[in-house]
């Protein structure tokens, strides 16, 4: 196990938790100095990460599990997908939300057919602010977008999005992202991605209304009560970090079994494409429609 991070404190902390034997300041250094010490890389990259770093990793035969950097373009993504394909390494898009037990249950129930055809997906994700740039722009909602595309098993044909910033928020930092997606055959999704006040607890709920049934995965239902002085407090019985472990297991299994992972690079690209349509809708105040293989302002 090796850890690479430009932030040395974070790298050391992570290495200590994981029992890593090698610590470097970045993937490029890792490839340069310790290339034979690992077979695969799990990359949670920030904006500004060089495209060439990812391509070099693929060229070095490293399998990649990547949470796409917020500033990556579709062109960048295509380049990495092609590099992984041509060097016969696995590329998995990091999307741990798909592995959350509640979400898995909704998906498997939908796939069983008992809910009928998917009709209305509703997602609320409230999260405390983070110091890095992954929280600021429309790309922040990419996990929810991916869930929508995954659950409907198709791309939205209509995208309308609105962003609002709380007073005092840094320029360009949207507190509220409200996404409205329309799918073929009348499917639709409402996605609310909100940044809470510092110190606020995260909250997630997902409901899917199908033509013959519905599923409600709502953390509101997972609350316990703590009584003391004053008003009782709600305590969430969480689902742990099982989803992160499940994501890593899937990545490893896809390598061992020499098959495509559950979430491919192409899947990640689709979500990026929709996220770009979201950004265009916010910027122009108009709906974006899919025409052929691309999104265009309506």
């Amino acid at each position: 196990m090796e850890v690479a991070d430009a932030d040395s404190d974070r790298a050391n902390q992570c290495a200590e938790q994981l029992g890593a034997s090698v610590i470097t300041d970045g993937l490029a250094s890792l490839l340069k100095d310790h290339c034979d010490a690992f077979d695969a890389a799990i990359i949670q990259a920030a904006s500004g990460t060089s495209l060439q770093t990812f391509i070099s990793a693929a060229e070095a035969g490293k399998h990649l599990l990547i949470e796409w950097p917020p500033d990556f373009t579709l062109h960048d993504t295509d380049a990495i997908i092609e590099a992984c394909r041509s060097h016969d390494v696995r590329l998995m898009t990091g999307q741990a939300s798909r592995f959350v037990p509640a979400v898995q249950t909704v998906k498997s129930t939908l796939e069983s057919g008992v809910l009928g055809s998917p009709g209305l997906l509703r997602i609320h994700r409230w999260q405390p602010p983070r110091s890095d740039d992954t929280q600021s722009g429309p790309r922040r909602s990419i996990q929810e977008v991916d869930l929508a595309v995954w659950l409907f098993e198709r791309l939205p044909t209509e995208v309308y999005a609105v962003a609002r910033s709380r007073a005092g928020a840094p320029p360009g930092n949207s507190t509220f992202l409200q996404l409205h997606l329309g799918f073929p055959d009348g499917g639709m999704a409402l996605i609310d991605n909100t940044t809470m006040q510092p110190g606020g607890e995260p909250y997630f709920s997902l409901s899917m209304i199908g033509s013959t049934g519905a599923a409600y995965a709502d953390e509101h239902h997972d609350m316990q009560l703590l009584y003391g002085t004053g008003r009782p407090k709600a305590l969430k019985t969480g689902q742990g970090d099982e989803h992160v472990l499940a994501e890593c297991r899937e990545f490893v299994s896809s390598i061992q079994e020499q098959r495509e992972p559950a979430i491919t690079g192409a899947d990640g690209r689709l979500a990026l494409e929709v996220a770009d349509a979201v950004a265009a809708s916010i910027e122009n105040g108009r709906a974006v429609h899919r025409k052929g293989k691309r999104y265009e302002l309506a």
């Binding site: 009709g119 209509e158 609002r164 509220f176 499917g187 006040q197 033509s211 519905a214 509101h220 709906a287």
Partner: protein
């Protein structure tokens, strides 16, 4: 009428009662309001007269097939309008022009022009008007008090799920080649038996038009702001009657409101199998200092037993004083010349929002709410 003795009851004429009569029953739940006559136009079809007569018999009051005659002869001060939706505004305008205060069932209308006519009649006759609503359900009262207390700071966003887990005749795709389309009115008349006739009338209505006023009234009350812009997706996802009549049974709406407040609404008649009770009705409210998640059904008690009918709700709502509190609000408005919790102007604004959402659903474009 405003000088009416505080101990006297307001005598009420029920102008048509063709749905499941929850509005006149709600009016009668307040001791200051007394139902004294049911009235309707003689030209109405027989099924309307039958329902009016049945309700009149239940209450032991006369049924008069002449609205103006009933108003003139029964010394009434209040009209309770619970007709088919397309007649709501006309009956209310006639009552207002006769000087009666009006309590009206939802929807206000499917026509903004009709709403405008009613708003003008209310203004012209200086009467009080109450659109029936659910804003006094315990959870809504709690939400409003919490927000007003400042507990979550300035309200910034509000999201409402408003699903009714009801069926509505045969499911979508049950149609066979050669079958005639389902007649909307006939279907609604038939639905009276199980109480799913919220859309009763000749004009087909989608779920936004039938039930939209309830969640939109929540949003309006809690946000204290008007809707400026709407984007909506609508679909016929569940019921053949909706498919045949080209009106949605599922919709999602993004609402851009005054003061930069964001709101959304998901609404649908999603089928009885999709929820153990009346349906998932929930509010997510976000403020500058915190957030609030409200289940509209609470407080409630769960009851399960052997042989329980499938149609019986497992969770029963408690402490529901909505009917009484609405009428207390109406009484106060009359006696203190204040506004009701959902007056004619608010009802008209909600109708505008609904119509904008329907238009947006058809065009795929955001629509400004005039």
């Amino acid at each position: 009428m405003n000088s009416r003795n505080a101990r006297e009851t307001f005598r009420c004429a029920v102008l048509s009662v063709v749905k499941h009569a929850y509005v006149p029953r709600g009016v009668a739940s307040h001791p200051r309001f007394e139902l004294v006559v049911v009235a309707d136009d003689a030209s109405m079809p027989e099924w309307v007269h039958e329902r009016n007569q049945t309700f009149a018999d239940e209450k032991g009051i006369p049924y008069v097939q002449d609205v103006e005659q009933a108003i003139n002869e029964f010394d009434v001060q209040v009209a309770v309008v619970s007709s088919e939706a397309e007649r709501h505004c006309d009956l209310s305008v006639r009552a207002a022009d006769a000087g009666l205060h009006v309590v009206q069932d939802k929807p206000m209308s499917t026509s903004v022009a009709e709403c405008d006519r009613l708003v003008e009649a209310v203004r012209r006759n200086r009467i009080k008007f109450l659109m029936w609503n659910r804003n006094f359900l315990p959870a809504l009262v709690h939400a409003r008090e919490t927000i007003e207390s400042g507990a979550i700071g300035r309200l910034e966003a509000i999201h409402v799920d408003f699903y009714f887990s009801k069926d509505s005749g045969p499911p979508k795709t049950s149609d066979k080649p050669g079958n005639p389309p389902i007649n909307w009115l006939e279907r609604q008349i038939e639905a009276h038996a199980d109480g799913s006739d919220g859309g009763v009338g000749r004009q087909p209505m989608g779920e936004l038009e039938i039930e939209g006023i309830y969640p939109l009234a929540y949003i309006r009350m809690l946000a204290g702001a008007d809707v400026e812009r709407v984007f909506a997706r609508t679909a016929t996802h569940f019921h053949q009657a909706n498919v045949d009549n080209n009106v949605e049974d599922l919709a999602s709406v993004t609402l851009e409101m005054q003061r930069d407040i964001l709101a959304t609404l998901s609404i649908g008649r999603i089928g009885a199998a999709s929820h153990p009770d009346i349906g998932e009705i929930k509010l997510h409210v976000i403020g500058s200092e915190g957030a609030l998640i409200i289940s509209e059904a609470r407080p409630e008690v769960a009851v399960y037993y052997k042989g329980q009918p499938a149609t019986e709700f497992r969770h029963r709502r408690l402490a529901v004083d909505n009917d009484y509190l609405l009428m207390e609000n109406f009484r106060t408005a009359i006696e203190t010349n204040s506004e009701t919790i959902l007056d004619a102007i608010a009802g008209r604004d909600i109708c505008r929002t609904v119509q904008a959402a329907v238009q947006s659903g058809r065009t795929g474009q955001p629509v400004d709410v005039a």
